[in-house]
């Protein structure tokens, strides 16, 4: 059997036989110190590969040897870095033209993202702006949705419409109106209809698919119209044509399709409407008998405290802002606090005990780089303290510290926060319901998971923090549990809210 150095080298080279893999595994188990040595060799091996110069000078005559490794990203990014000095366009194009590894393609489901929406009502599963979209059907009952395909094409669909996303450069429309803006880098973008296929050559066009017929209107540039058993037709700017039947060229009618300007205006109006609706509902919410704390984050920008608006929350003082800075919330005009530095937090005190508890927050998570990422956490961790947090792997957790010598209990959701959800506003709620003997987690107003509650002893929150944590017992430094993200509303009830009540909050 080869010696340890040779086994490690073969691991690095990917040439271990199964017998050698077994031997190396046994050695690692028998000699734990060997693990660190192997990892050091592994890291050095990776760094040496990354130091490979762009052009390798010949070291004299060599036998004809086959390269042992394929083209690597190191080369590409080195080129990209140089190109960035001249123009980052080069870097982008270089990387765009690289083929991702097959396994990555298999696991990357989304092909587009819903970027904006106005008065959206869906016949299919509801999606909200910011949601990545995987291949499949979108059935829009009413409203206007703006979809950006990863290849670069931007499409507006007007409900009622049915659109099937096929890939990052292709979709099928079986009903309704859509308009598309296709930049040069997305040239070749295809829209299929039951009557034929429109292939874009870098342009702007509209498609109207009715029950009996379908039309294509070209606003800018040129498109190709492909139909079964018919010669391909080319349509230029200002022209329109029925996709089947009468092939007479007609003038294009841009005004009958939604435009980006229109969605800009309607989107701004819609956001204003939602903001005002939220403002109007605040007074009723603040008066809820069980509401003990509500921060609406609409305090003056210079303010370093958050006012508690709960009418029945006199016993809970305003929150104190430490470090966190003001930013924009869910809508223009809505304020939020951004947590980005290790110092950032909002300190508050929830005195006494609570038999039941509901917590709700609007949060935008930018990333999960720590083992625990705080939403709302009691200071310390003992005697029925409560920690509401997101774990590094994206699960939302309500952790309750044990009292009287019992162990703590974690109530977790399945993985919720993946990179697809980062950067989007999400409504989270959790209910500690001793009557039903369960803990319920909600996302965007919908029940996500429920778990059994064995110990229904009242909770003692005490001093707590939004977006961070402090362990007052620690003398050797405090674990960093900062949330990387923003919050724009937080509320606490001393009663268990129902599914229906949470649904209203999360809309």
């Amino acid at each position: 059997m080869p010696d340890t150095d040779t086994l490690i080298q073969r691991y690095l080279e990917g040439t271990l036989t199964t017998g050698e893999a077994e031997e190396l595994h046994a050695l690692l188990q028998a000699h734990p110190e060997l693990g660190e040595r192997l990892l050091q060799h592994f890291e050095m091996d990776a760094m040496l590969r990354a130091t490979k110069p762009l052009v390798v000078e010949s070291m004299g005559a060599r036998p004809a040897l086959l390269p042992k490794r394929r083209f690597t990203f190191a080369t590409v990014t080195s080129v990209a870095a140089m190109a960035a000095c001249i123009t980052l366009v080069g870097a982008w194009l270089i990387n765009q033209t690289m083929s991702p590894q097959p396994e990555a393609e298999e696991t990357t489901a989304s092909v587009a993202v819903l970027t904006r929406g106005v008065n959206l009502e869906w016949d299919s599963a509801a999606v909200t702006p910011g949601t990545p979209l995987s291949p499949g059907w979108l059935r829009l009952k009413s409203g206007i949705a703006q979809i950006e395909f990863y290849q670069g094409a931007r499409v507006l669909i007007e409900g009622p419409a049915e659109l099937q996303l096929v890939s990052s450069g292709e979709a099928t429309c079986t009903r309704g109106k859509l308009s598309a803006q296709v930049p040069p880098q997305a040239k070749g973008f295809r829209i299929n209809t039951p009557k034929g296929t429109i292939v874009d050559l870098g342009t702007e066009f509209g498609v109207d698919v009715g029950a009996q017929n379908a039309e294509v209107h070209v606003f800018k540039g040129e498109v190709e119209l492909h139909q079964p058993a018919v010669t391909m037709k080319s349509l230029k700017e200002g022209q329109a044509m029925a996709i089947a039947g009468n092939t007479a060229v007609l003038p294009a009618n841009a005004s009958s399709f939604a435009s980006l300007n229109e969605i800009d205006a309607r989107s701004a109006m819609s956001q204003r409407f939602q903001f005002e609706k939220w403002l109007a509902s605040s007074a009723r919410l603040n008066a809820d008998a069980g509401l003990r704390l509500r921060f609406d984050f609409q305090d003056d920008e210079g303010s370093r405290s958050l006012r508690n608006h709960a009418v029945n929350g006199a016993q809970i003082a305003d929150g104190s802002i430490v470090g966190a800075s003001w930013t924009t919330g869910r809508w223009p005009g809505k304020r939020a606090l951004e947590f980005r530095n290790v110092s950032d937090r909002v300190r508050l005190n929830i005195p006494g005990e609570t038999k039941a508890l509901t917590l709700a927050v609007w949060v935008r998570v930018n990333g999960l780089d720590r083992t625990f990422n705080s939403l709302f956490m009691s200071e310390g961790w003992s005697d029925r303290k409560t920690h509401w947090q997101i774990t590094r792997d994206g699960k939302v957790r309500l952790g309750i510290a044990g009292g009287g010598g019992s162990h703590h209990v974690d109530h977790d959701t399945p993985v919720l926060f993946t990179p697809e959800r980062f950067g989007r506003w999400t409504h989270l709620a959790v209910v500690y319901d001793p009557a039903a003997r369960e803990v319920r987690h909600y996302v965007d107003g919908e029940l996500l998971t429920r778990s059994a509650l064995k110990d229904t002893t009242p909770l003692k929150i005490g001093i707590a923090e939004l977006g961070n944590w402090n362990d007052r017992r620690s003398s050797g430094g405090v674990a960093i549990r900062l949330l990387s993200g923003a919050m724009d509303e937080f509320a606490l009830w001393d009663r268990a809210l129902s599914d229906e009540e949470i649904a209203v909050l999360g809309r």
Binding site: P2, L24, V56
Partner: protein, 178 residues
């Protein structure tokens, strides 16, 4: 390419070594680091309009890299025989359980200067294996030695470079995270 895309590409390039370090921690499989960095770049750019580039990009990149690393790790190792999978899992756990954060970012620049200090024969070996992509059996044929001897020689070179990095960083006041 719009301004935001340009900024996003700049942000990624500025953190490229950081991404590689995180990738190494979560997917210690030969040759996987660059594939992970590539995928992180593509996914970061695909959603660039969502990112607030005025904030520290590290938390976002760290999480993206970890997700992608674990995904690619699973994909890559599941193709291996069971005994190799067990070895790979063992090594991944060792890497994850290490207390020290990835040092790649700090060490890569030191490594470049250490490479210059290598004896000529060691430098030639590095060039053959790492830069000219020639496998150890072929190098052994070329220089008329046993393949195991080449493996041991490469191992010694890596250890020398590790010692050089440790010496250099110690003389500069130690690792930033220490």
């Amino acid at each position: 390419m719009n301004t935001h895309e340009t900024q996003a590409a700049q942000v990624f390039l500025a953190h490229h070594d950081f991404v590689r370090g995180v990738a190494l921690k979560y997917a210690p499989w030969p040759g996987l680091m660059e594939d992970i960095a590539q995928q992180v770049f593509l996914e970061f750019m695909a959603k660039e309009s969502q990112w607030d580039l005025s904030t520290d990009a590290r938390p976002l990149l760290a999480t993206m890299t970890r997700h992608i690393a674990l995904r690619q790790w699973r994909e890559r190792t599941k193709q291996q025989p069971e005994v190799v999978q067990k070895l790979a899992d063992h090594i991944r756990l060792l890497a994850e359980e290490r207390e020290a954060p990835p040092r790649y970012e700090e060490e890569i620049s030191v490594l470049r200067s250490c490479l210059q200090k290598l004896p000529e024969k060691s430098r030639e070996l590095v060039e053959l294996y790492y830069y000219n992509d020639i496998g150890t059996p072929q190098i052994a044929d070329q220089i008329n030695m046993k393949a195991d001897t080449v493996c041991r020689a490469l191992s010694r070179v890596r250890e020398k470079l590790r010692e050089c990095i440790e010496r250099t960083t110690a003389s500069q006041g130690g690792h930033a995270h220490a």
